[in-house]
Amino acid sequence: MMNAIDVHMLIRLIIAVVAAMAWVGINALVLVYCERKFAGHIQRRPGPFEVGPHGILQPLADGLKLMGKQLFRPAGADAFLFWLAPMLSLLPVLLLFLPIPYGPMLTAMNVSLGILLILAFSSLNVLALLLAGWSSNNKWGILGAARAVSQSVAYEIPLLLSVLAVTFMTGSFNLSAISTSQGAWPWQWNLMAQPLAFFIYLVSAFGETNRAPFDLAEAESELTAGFHTEYSSMGFGLFFMAEYAYMVVVCSVCTVLFLGGFRGPVADGWWWFLAKTYALLFLMIWVRWTYPRVRFDQLLNINWKWLLPLAVFNLLATAFVMKL
C-alpha cells in the first residue's frame, strides 16, 4: 500500500529526473557551442559562424547528424557490454543532479548525505569507461580504458579529502546545509577558509572528468580516441554528453562547497548558482584550450606526490583548527 506521501515523493522524483534529463541535454548543447566558440576565439578565429546566426545551431546539427549515422559494432566486440557501456556512462548522471541545491527551495531530493551520494554514483563512470575499452576488442580502447581507470582512481582520493575538509568545517554532508552555512559575499565563502582544498578539488576535477590537460584516456596523438575509438554515432554521442554532464556536476558541487552555492549579494537564488557554475565551466574550457596535455607519469606524479600529501595535510590542519 502506498500512502499519499509516497505518491507525492514518487511524482516529485519523476519530475526531477525528467528535469535532470532536459538539463543534461541543454547543457550538452550549450557547452559544445561554448567550447567550440571559445576554442575559436582563443586561437584568434571566429569558430562556428555560418550555421545559424553566429553558429548557434551548430550543436543541433551535430547532434542530429550523430543520430543519423550508422551504428557500428566491431565483429570481435562483446555485444552486450559494448552497448551497455555508453548507457552506463550517461544514466548515473541523472541521479547526480538530484541532491544539488540550485536555490533555497530548489532541490529535488534534500538528502542528508548528498555529497556522498554524488561521489558514490559518479564513480560508476569509471566502470563504464573500462567496459567500453574492454568490450570493443581494440588495443587503443583497452589502453585508454586502463589509463582512465588508473587516473580516475588516483584523482578520486585527493578529491574526497578536499571535500572532507569542507564537511569538517560545516559538520554536514547535506549540500543545502553547506550552501546556507556560507555568507552572501565572496569573503564569507568556503573558498576563503579553504583555498588549498579548493585548488586540490579543481585540479582533481580536471583529472576526474578526463578533461585536458589530463585527457590522457583519449589522447589522440597516441591512442587514436582511447576508450571510444570503436564507437560511432550516438554511442560516441552518449559518452560525449556524459562527459559534459560530469563537468556540470563537478562544477555544481564545487560551487556549493567553495563558492557559496546559491548564496550571493543582493538576493539568494538559482541565478547566482548558475552564474558561478558556468564561470567554473568556462574556466575548464579555458584551461583545455590553453595548456598542452601532460605525460602519464607526470599526471600520476602530480597526484601521488603533490595533491595527495597536500590534501592530507590540509585535512589534518582543518581538523586541528576545528578542535582548537
Binding site: 578565429r45 559562424f49 555560418e50 553558429g55 543519423g68 557500428f72
Partner: protein
C-alpha cells in the same frame, strides 16, 4: 610499374554515397532536415599523407577557419568521422591503409581527393614512377576533386561546399567576386 589505367573501374559513380538507400527516415521533410544537418557538420578524419595536409591544417587555422562551417572537428577515429580528405600522394605502401580507413568509416561518408597527387598522381605520373597510385579513385570512390599543387585553403573550403551541395543539392554560401588586376 605505375598503376595501370585499366585498374580504374568505369562504373565508380562520380558522387559516392550521398544518398543512403534505403533512406533512414521515409518522410521526405525529415530526410531533408537530416541531410541539412549532415552537410553542416562534416567531421573530417585526422589524416594527412603529404604536403597537401599542411594546406589542410592551414584551412583549419585562424585565417581561413574551417570551423565557421562546422567542419573543424577533426576526429582521430574513423568511426566518428564523415569526410575523408585524401591530402597528398598515395603510395603503393600506403594504399592498403587508405582503403582500410575508408572502410572503417560508418555510412554516410564522403571522400575529398585533395591535390593533384590524390587526383591523378600529379607530378609523379611519369614513366619512371614505380610506387605512386595514380589517383586515389582507383582505390576508393571519390566525391569531390580539389585540384592544385597544393590547392589553396580556399580550394579545400570550396571542396567542402561541393560536398554540402552533393548532400543537400544546394550551394549554401555566396560565391566570391572575381577581383580584377
Amino acid at each position: 610499374m605505375a598503376a595501370p589505367d585499366e585498374v580504374v573501374p568505369p562504373e565508380i559513380p562520380a558522387s559516392g554515397q550521398h544518398a543512403i538507400q534505403p533512406p533512414v527516415v521515409k518522410a521526405k521533410p525529415v530526410q531533408a532536415i537530416l541531410d541539412l544537418c549532415r552537410s553542416m557538420s562534416l567531421w573530417p578524419m585526422t589524416f594527412g599523407l603529404a604536403c597537401c595536409a599542411i594546406e589542410m591544417m592551414a584551412t583549419g587555422m585562424a585565417r581561413f577557419d574551417l570551423a565557421r562551417f562546422g567542419a573543424e572537428v577533426f576526429r582521430p577515429s574513423p568511426r566518428q568521422s564523415d569526410v575523408m580528405i585524401v591530402a597528398g600522394t598515395v603510395t603503393k605502401k600506403m594504399a592498403p591503409a587508405v582503403v582500410r580507413l575508408y572502410e572503417q568509416i560508418p555510412a554516410p561518408k564522403w571522400v575529398i581527393a585533395m591535390g593533384n597527387c590524390a587526383i591523378s598522381g600529379g607530378p609523379f605520373k611519369i614513366k619512371e614512377n614505380y610506387n605512386v597510385i595514380e589517383g586515389v579513385d582507383t582505390l576508393i570512390p571519390v566525391d569531390v576533386y580539389v585540384p592544385g599543387c597544393p590547392p589553396r585553403p580556399e580550394g579545400l573550403l570550396e571542396g567542402f561546399f561541393q560536398v554540402q551541395r552533393l548532400i543537400t543539392g544546394k550551394r549554401w554560401w555566396p560565391v566570391a567576386e572575381e577581383v580584377q588586376g
